[in-house]
Amino acid sequence: MEVDDREFLEAFTEHLDRLHNLARGLTSHRQDAEDLVSETCLLALRGWRRHAPDDAAAWFATICLNAARSSYRRRAARPVEVAAEDWLLDRADDRADTAGSALASLEARRVRDAVGRLPTPQLEAIALMDLGGYTAAQTALIVGSPRGTVLARVHRGRKVLARTLADEREGGR
C-alpha cells in the first residue's frame, strides 16, 4: 500500500465512529449506513490521492452527506441480516442482564425513528452536530448554509425530538 493510502486509512479510521453515526442518522437501516460509509471511503480515497484536505473530518462528512443526498438510501429496502438484530434484542427480555440493553436499544430505535421523520434540513443538522459531533462552523461549511441557519435548524430539530419522545412516552403509559 502506498504511503498516501496508508495515511488516508489512518485518517479515515480515526473518523470512522463519527462517520458511522452520521451515516446512521442519514439512513434508515444499519446496513444502508455501512454501505454509505463504504461509498464515502472509496470516494474520499480517490479525492485524497489528488489532494489531501486541510480539515479531514469536515471533508469526509461532506462526501458522506453528498453521497446520501444523491442516492435514495432512506427508501431502500434491505432484508436478510439486519432484520435479525432487532429480533435478538426483543426476545432477550427474559434475561436480567440483557433487559437493560434491550430497553436502551428500543429507546435508541425510537429516537432514530423520530430523527428520521424530521424535515431534511433539520435531520441533516442533527445528524452532523448531535450524532457526528461536528461543530456548528463545520456543519455550516458541510451543508453550505450560514451558521445562524444551521443553529436554527438544529435547535428546531432538537425541540421536535424532545416533544415527540415525550408524547410517545405519555402515550405509552
Partner: protein, 248 residues
C-alpha cells in the same frame, strides 16, 4: 433588541454568543419562562440524539480496510500493466464485471473439487448452500428463527444476525456471530439431520460429529442433541464453538 427566545436559545446552546452575551442571557433565563423552556427542550432533544451514538462495528472497520487495500491493489496492477482505465469506466466498475466472472470460475473449480475430491460423490445441496451463504455473509432467509441465538458470550462471540429459511428441503435457522477480532462463525440449526459431506473426518464414534474443510471454510456437523452445523474460517474457533455448545 427584539426578544426572540428561539433565536437566543439556539445561539446560546450553539456557542454563538460572546462571553458577555452569554452571561447576560444566563441571568435572563432565570426570569424568562419562554427562554428557559426553549433551552430546556433543546437540551433534552440534544441528549436524546447524542444517546444513540455508537462505535463503528468491527465488521465495518474490516470492510473499510479491505476497500482501501483493494483500491491500492487495483492501482498497483494498473501501474504494473500500464493500462489506463477505459474512459467512463472507473476501475471499480470494471472490477464489478471482472470479479463475478472470476468468482464464477472459482465456483466451478470449487464444485469440481467437491465432486472429484469426494470420489465422485456430489456435495449435498444443503451443505453447499450453507457454505455459499456463509461466504456471501447471507443468512438462510429473513424469517424469524424458532429459537433465540445460543449464548456464546463465553467465547466473546456476539450475535450479529439471525434468520430462518430452507436449504434443499431442510428448514434451517442461521445465527451469525462475530468476536472482537472480527472472526465470524455461523450456526445452522435444523430439526432434521444434515447429510454427511464427502471426505468428512469423523471426530467421535460412528454417529459422532464430523468435520470437513471446503476452501477457506471449515464445517463441523453434529446430530446430537440437535442437528447442527458450525461454519467458520477459523477451524479452532469452529471447534471451540462446537465444544461450547456441548457437541464435542
Amino acid at each position: 433588541m427584539r426578544h426572540d427566545p428561539e433565536r437566543s436559545a439556539a445561539h446560546f446552546l450553539g456557542g454563538a454568543m460572546t462571553g458577555e452575551e452569554q452571561q447576560s442571557f444566563s441571568g435572563h433565563l432565570l426570569r424568562c419562562p419562554d427562554c428557559w423552556s426553549e433551552v430546556a427542550q433543546a437540551r433534552t432533544g440534544r441528549s436524546l440524539a447524542e444517546s444513540t451514538r455508537t462505535s463503528a462495528p468491527a465488521a465495518l472497520r474490516d470492510r473499510v480496510r479491505g476497500l482501501v487495500e483493494a483500491e491500492a491493489l487495483d492501482e498497483a496492477l494498473d501501474a504494473a500493466s500500464g493500462t489506463v482505465p477505459v474512459a467512463g469506466w472507473p476501475r471499480r466498475r470494471l472490477a464489478a464485471i471482472a470479479l463475478p466472472a472470476a468468482a464464477a470460475a472459482l465456483a466451478l473449480v470449487a464444485v469440481l473439487v467437491v465432486v472429484l475430491g469426494g470420489r465422485g460423490t456430489p456435495e449435498p445441496p444443503s451443505l453447499q448452500q450453507a457454505v455459499a451463504d456463509y461466504s456471501a455473509q447471507r443468512l438462510p432467509g429473513a424469517q424469524l428463527p424458532d429459537q433465540r441465538a445460543p449464548d456464546l458470550t463465553g467465547l466473546q462471540l456476539q450475535p450479529v444476525g439471525a434468520g430462518g429459511g430452507t436449504y434443499a428441503g431442510l428448514d434451517v435457522d442461521g445465527f451469525a456471530y462475530r468476536d472482537p477480532a472480527g472472526r465470524r462463525v455461523v450456526l445452522y440449526l435444523s430439526d432434521d439431520p444434515f447429510p454427511e459431506a464427502p471426505g468428512a473426518q469423523r471426530l467421535e464414534g460412528a454417529d459422532g460429529p464430523w468435520i470437513v474443510r471446503r476452501g477457506a471454510v471449515t464445517v463441523l456437523c453434529a446430530r446430537l442433541p440437535h442437528a447442527l452445523l458450525v461454519v467458520g474460517e477459523d477451524a479452532q474457533l469452529v471447534r471451540s464453538t462446537a465444544s461450547a455448545l456441548g457437541v464435542l
